[in-house]
């Protein structure tokens, strides 16, 4: 059967053309029956707040919503690990009929008493939104009694897209920010927004800034701590890495506390160097700038020889990618280009018009750009573009593997840090380990020789 994109989705697939931005439709609800790779609003809030390790995360809803977000990200903590618990009010039919507030209050009190968290986030779900539980009132009551900040996260699954969940998380974070004492914060200070310490990436970036003489007041939310986030308003600059989820928070902090923000990426040698220099220049401190030059020279010098060697093995390889937001995609296109790999398919779940313009600009001609794709589209495009390597998350992995195509995880579950200079090298090794693996030579797609087998009787 010849593949055709659904009529409902035709505006969300384009092929790039030389020197022009092709009109494109995005930032809208998923078409029913399309088999979108997107999750829900609740998911958006949950992934952003998840890495805050000394907070309790209680999902107010039926058990599934908590079960599916248990230990969902490889977001590491250097201390407490409360975030790795999957706490649920486990609503039952009775609660749906009579209201879930009593169960929420009992559960919340029990967990706060048991775990002594520095704060608690209470996530609404579809059901609790529908039955009209007043989560805010319960949170205020328990906060008043226990003295622990309890923050409702109103991101019912049906409310919108994952992006609306980011906004709900932003509101919860803003309720924490501003509570702490900022007097001891030094002038050369930043917050890092949109790094989630997957596989320890925040630690890598923190180390760079420490060496440069810049204080990292808080990371939102990688290896996150409630007290650090509470004093985030004392920093001089916000660096925004995951633009999709954190730009609203950066804008709000600019408005409320006058903190300017810069969009950066720590993915690839080029982006990492740019991010560090941009931060150093902002501080207008000659000593910081000198240290930054030394750091970049030393770190880049350490990884470049092996990067060049890996690049030799990847020459001419073609990549496809499907990630959360389009700025991440832009970063990936640049990093892959440095490895000699050209991107011929680039898609995202939740990119905005502005982000897609930037993505089109950085891509080569005749690259397929797709918003909110589904498995059949991705499979068809991977074949059409003769891709050697696909980059995405867990749901994209089997699509690549079933086609006998290499795959790199660029999502929550990976165990390899991809940030900074050492991350660039780890990424190159990842790409190499799958794009040049000899197993693909055995696959039917490469017309590998194969004995003739009889067809089994039905």
């Amino acid at each position: 059967m010849a593949f055709e994109v659904l009529n409902d989705r035709k505006g969300q697939v384009v092929r790039t053309r030389p020197n022009q931005v092709v009109a494109f439709s995005c930032d809208k609800p998923s078409a029913a029956g399309s088999v979108s790779q997107r999750a829900c609003t609740f998911c958006g809030s949950r992934v952003v707040l998840y890495p805050i390790a000394d907070a309790l995360h209680l999902v107010h809803g039926p058990v599934g919503c908590a079960a599916y977000t248990w230990d969902i990200r490889g977001a590491l903590s250097s201390g407490p690990e409360l975030h790795r618990l999957s706490c649920s009010t486990d609503l039952r039919e009775k609660d749906v009929v009579f209201g879930g507030e009593p169960r929420l209050e009992a559960t919340l009190r029990q967990l706060v008493e048991q775990h002594h968290p520095r704060a608690a986030f209470v996530y609404a779900t579809c059901v609790t939104g529908l039955i009209g539980d007043d989560i805010g009132a319960v949170c205020r009551r328990v906060e008043a009694d226990t003295g622990v900040p309890i923050l409702p996260v109103q991101a019912e699954g049906f409310r919108g897209t994952k992006r609306d969940g980011y906004d709900a998380a932003t509101r919860a974070l803003l309720a924490l920010i501003g509570r702490g004492d900022t007097t001891s914060i030094t002038p050369n200070s930043i917050n890092l927004l949109g790094d989630f310490n997957v596989a320890g990436e925040s630690w890598i970036i923190r180390r760079y800034f420490q060496q440069m003489g810049i204080e990292v007041v808080s990371v939102l939310t990688g290896d996150g701590r409630v007290d650090e986030i509470s004093r985030a308003h004392g920093a001089r600059l916000n660096l925004v890495q995951c633009a999709g989820s954190m730009t609203p928070l950066a804008r709000a902090m600019e408005e409320r506390y006058g903190i300017p923000f810069k969009q950066v990426s720590f993915f690839g040698v080029e982006d990492t160097s740019e991010a560090l220099y941009a931060t150093a220049e902002f501080m207008q401190d000659a000593r910081v700038l000198t240290r930054t030059r030394e750091l970049v020279a030393a770190e880049a010098g350490r990884v470049l020889p092996e990067l060049r060697a890996v690049k030799e093995t990847l020459r001419g390889k073609r990549a496809g990618l499907y990630v959360g937001g389009a700025f991440k995609a832009v970063s990936l296109v640049r990093a892959l280009r440095q490895l000699g790999v050209s991107v011929v398919l680039a898609g995202t779940q939740t990119g905005t018009e502005e982000e897609y313009r930037a993505l089109q600009a950085v891509c080569d001609d005749a690259t397929i750009i797709v918003d909110d794709a589904n498995p059949l589209e991705l499979a068809a495009f991977l074949i059409e573009q003769n891709v050697d390597l696909f980059i995405g998350g867990v749901k994209e992995r089997p699509i690549a593997y079933k086609l006998g195509i290499g795959f790199c995880d660029h999502n929550h579950e990976r165990k390899v840090p991809l940030a900074g200079f050492e991350g660039a090298l780890a990424f190159a090794r990842e790409v190499q380990s799958t794009a040049t693996s000899p197993v693909w030579d055995l696959m039917p797609r490469r017309s590998a020789p194969c004995p003739v087998f009889s067809k089994e009787a039905p």
Binding site: M1, D8, S30, A31, A32, G33, S34, V35, S36, R38, A39, C40, T41, L58, G61, P62, V63, G64, A66, Y68, T69, D71, L85, S86, C87, T89, L91, R92, E93, K94, D95, V96, V97, F98, P102, A106, T107, Q110, L111, C126, V127, L130, G157, F158, R159, G160, P375, L376, A380, I383, V394, K395, R397, P398, I399, Y401, K402, M443, P444, R445
Partner: protein, 455 residues
């Protein structure tokens, strides 16, 4: 099924005692989805917000390591207020266009159930408007009532009710209604039944679809699964082997019985005795003796028992998972001389405690229904469990307790090959026994200050 309080006062008194921390159960639509994947050419459609389908996909993909496409009616705020009928119709249209399915299974999410969508009515109107198209089976799966086990069985029941309608001459086939087993288990059950010269209709049969091969092209709907025609012919089979403990009332096998096929209610064939008990009726209805290769496998299993019995004797094992598997494993552990000190399930029905209640006193220390991993961990401490036998979700509990975890069942998210594990038959038991002995030996080697290199 849950026995729910009958009066308002009873409802109010029916208070939860504690938070659920680290659940041991998934939601009902997940069970419905797995069951749907066992029907040839079927696409599961979840009526609700987009996230449910995506979360379940991610969860199943991480276990089976196969594409699992689940459509959603993608209800948003507007549809939540005004009703989701148009979205469901559009989902069916789009699924039909993209997948050309032979069957659609529509399961409801909490959202659709709570806003009171009349799904049966919606589907009736859709059929009228769209004309004759694929069959659509509807199953109600609110997760505030049921877990994945009940969702799985409710879907099998709905499929049987809707499609298993053919009367006529007896066919030399056996029906199998399994609980959620691995693809390799389903394949092995078919092989065993085939050994008696019978065809097998396994409902659901996702052996190929969720443990697929690599092909040149991407298959929108992978091969495999029970064809609708075979489901239709189920009443004509010689027998229905019903391995479920938690079938929704009534059981699917009862529906088949009313339509002419007699049921045989059995525990899962794990171990010598339980597998023997499965072969006996097979020999009777087929009129054939068990094939020689099964005899050889039985002999090898007994041989392994002899080789390894000492290493498992008296070992205190904690089990958790779906009621059918836990019950079968508990009986098997007793068969080999180990002690199933904790038997736990996240399922909310009382199937496990009822099944194990029939054992002699003292066989099992603690039986937990509706359990989470937190309560299981506490039970392990109380009973000094030496080994955890269950899904990969027991990893952190095992790590905290300092005991090994032997991964079986569903889900196994931190290893490959979950779909290829065999738990049933002499062959599956042999795999389990070897793994159990070797896991215990590895732990002993690790604990030993000097190690050892011979047994």
């Amino acid at each position: 099924m849950n026995t729910l309080p009958a009066t308002l006062e009873a409802w109010r008194a029916f208070e939860p005692s504690r938070a659920t921390v680290d659940p041991c159960v998934l939601c009902a639509p997940l069970g419905a989805t797995v069951a749907a994947c066992g029907l040839r050419g079927a696409v599961p459609i979840l009526h609700g917000a987009q996230g449910c389908a995506t979360y379940i996909r991610r969860y199943l993909i991480s276990h089976f390591r196969e594409p699992v496409d689940i459509a959603s009616s993608s209800l948003g705020e507007k549809e939540t207020v005004l009703g989701g009928e148009a979205n469901l119709a559009r989902a069916l249209d789009n699924v039909a266009k993209q997948y050309r399915p032979e069957l659609a299974v529509v399961a409801t999410t909490c959202l659709a159930e709570t806003i009171g969508e009349d799904v049966a009515g919606q589907l009736g109107r859709y059929r009228l408007q769209s004309g004759p198209s694929m069959p659509i089976v509807h199953v109600s799966t609110p997760s505030y009532r049921d877990g994945h086990v009940e969702g799985f069985h409710a879907t099998v029941l709905a499929v049987v009710r809707a499609l298993a309608c053919e009367r006529g001459a007896e066919a030399r086939t056996a029906n199998v209604l399994p609980p959620l087993l691995s693809p390799a288990d389903l394949r092995h059950l078919r092989e065993i039944i085939g050994g008696f010269g019978l065809g097998a209709t396994i409902l659901p049969d996702y052996a190929d679809r969720l443990d697929g091969v690599i092909r040149e092209r991407y298959e929108a709907l992978p091969e495999g699964g029970v064809p609708v025609a075979s489901v239709a012919a189920m009443p004509r089979s010689l027998v229905t082997f019903d391995f479920t403990l938690t079938g929704a009332a009534p059981r699917a096998s009862e529906v088949l019985a009313r339509r002419g096929c007699s049921p045989s209610l059995l525990g899962l064939p794990v171990g010598i005795r339980a597998t023997d008990a499965f072969l006996e009726p097979l020999a009777r209805v087929s009129g054939e003796p068990a094939p020689a290769w099964l005899g050889a496998e039985r002999g090898r299993l007994l041989d392994a028992y002899a080789d390894g019995h000492k290493y498992v004797f008296g070992k205190r094992v904690a089990l958790f998972g779906d009621p059918e598997l836990v019950t079968a494993l508990a009986l098997w552990l007793l068969e080999v001389g180990a002690k199933p000190v904790v038997c736990a399930t996240g399922a909310r029905n009382q199937a496990l405690s009822q099944a194990l209640g029939e054992l002699p006193r003292g066989s099992v220390d603690e039986v937990l229904d509706d359990a989470d991993l937190t309560s299981i961990r506490e039970a392990c401490r109380r009973t000094n469990a030496e080994l955890l036998l269950g899904s990969s979700k027991g990893y952190r509990a095992a790590r905290d307790l300092g005991v090994p975890l032997l991964r079986i069942g569903f889900p196994i998210h931190d290893r490959i090959g979950a779909g290829r594990l065999i738990h049933v038959g002499y062959r599956g038991t042999l795999q389990l026994f070897d793994a159990l002995v070797n896991t215990l030996l590895a732990a002993q080697q690790e604990r030993s200050p000097v190690g050892f290199s011979y047994l």
